[in-house]
Symmetry: C2
Subunit: 151 residues, 2 copies
DNA sequence: CTCTTTGCAAAGACTTTGCATCCAA
DNA sequence: TTGGATGCAAAGTCTTTGCAAAGAG
């Protein structure tokens, strides 16, 4: 776990990755990559990315953005996170943090992957199962949505 | 966490719960409850439950089973688990175990909720977030799908 | 020029909903 | 009898796909 260093990703590095893989750097790709980098902290879903891309470069079809996300995922540039809602979230893969999602208010909290170290070790030992903590958010209730509880 | 004793659930107990809430015990309800109890270990999705119900009582509409699942969930009889695929899994709530889902082969492993005790304590302390380990499966790779690894 | 990418519209997977009919209590 | 439950078909949400036209290198 952890230690999966992907390194920082500048737009140019990502474009090179695309070109190296035989892909072409198009306006839609540039726009999507910009959004992914600039709005890194916003936990955007595909739908929201599509909206943001269309805002910056009107006319780009949703299917195009979906296709680009797929490709970027194959190239290990981005990854999607299941959040318990129908729509998945996307983040740059080098970000490397996992998530806590409150199913009451929908709030999302970033947590370092190391938080899972002990659990990962236990699951590995007991079930020989290698968890990927980033791939699915942990669901539960955040402090605002938990009633009774003294300070 | 844990300690959420819901108690054993026989069909009759469930039917009483339904009646008490103003509901009626119909053939579709009986059939669904039977399937839920008998196929407890099979980790069925709504789709699979629908198929199984239709097998035992031909003609029951999918929408009916979806509606019954919703109602049973409101009554805390069943709960759904997000597994990283589009379709959610359903289980009787008293079962109280969490899941490990291999995104390679799809295998599902049951694990006791207590496995999360330490992590839950940490998250509660650090983020005041109360995880619900059963609500979302942990994703990763099972031993069969993990290459290199001695014995 | 060639091969990838795009837009558009249609299809797909999963789930919900409206409504007239039907049935449990 | 009388509200809740059901079947059917349509709608909804999120995502994928086919195909001809457009575009990157």
């Amino acid at each position: 776990m952890a230690g999966e260093e992907i390194g920082p990703r500048t737009p140019e590095q990502i474009f090179d990755t695309i070109r190296t893989s035989g892909g072409r750097v198009t306006v839609s790709l540039r726009t999507l990559v910009d959004v992914l980098i600039e709005d890194e902290e916003r936990h955007l879903t595909a739908d929201e990315l599509i909206a943001e891309v269309d805002l910056r470069a009107p006319g780009i079809a949703a299917s195009t953005t979906y296709r680009l996300l797929q490709r970027l995922e194959e190239l290990d540039v981005v990854e999607h996170i299941h959040t318990g809602s129908a729509a998945a979230m996307y983040q740059l893969r080098h970000h490397g943090h996992a998530h806590l999602v409150c199913h009451e208010c929908g709030s999302i909290t970033d947590i370092p992957e190391e938080t899972f170290a002990t659990l990962a070790a236990t699951l590995d030992r007991t079930y020989r199962f290698a968890i990927e903590p980033r791939h699915a958010a942990l669901l539960g209730r955040c402090s605002n949505c938990t009633p009774e509880r003294g300070s």
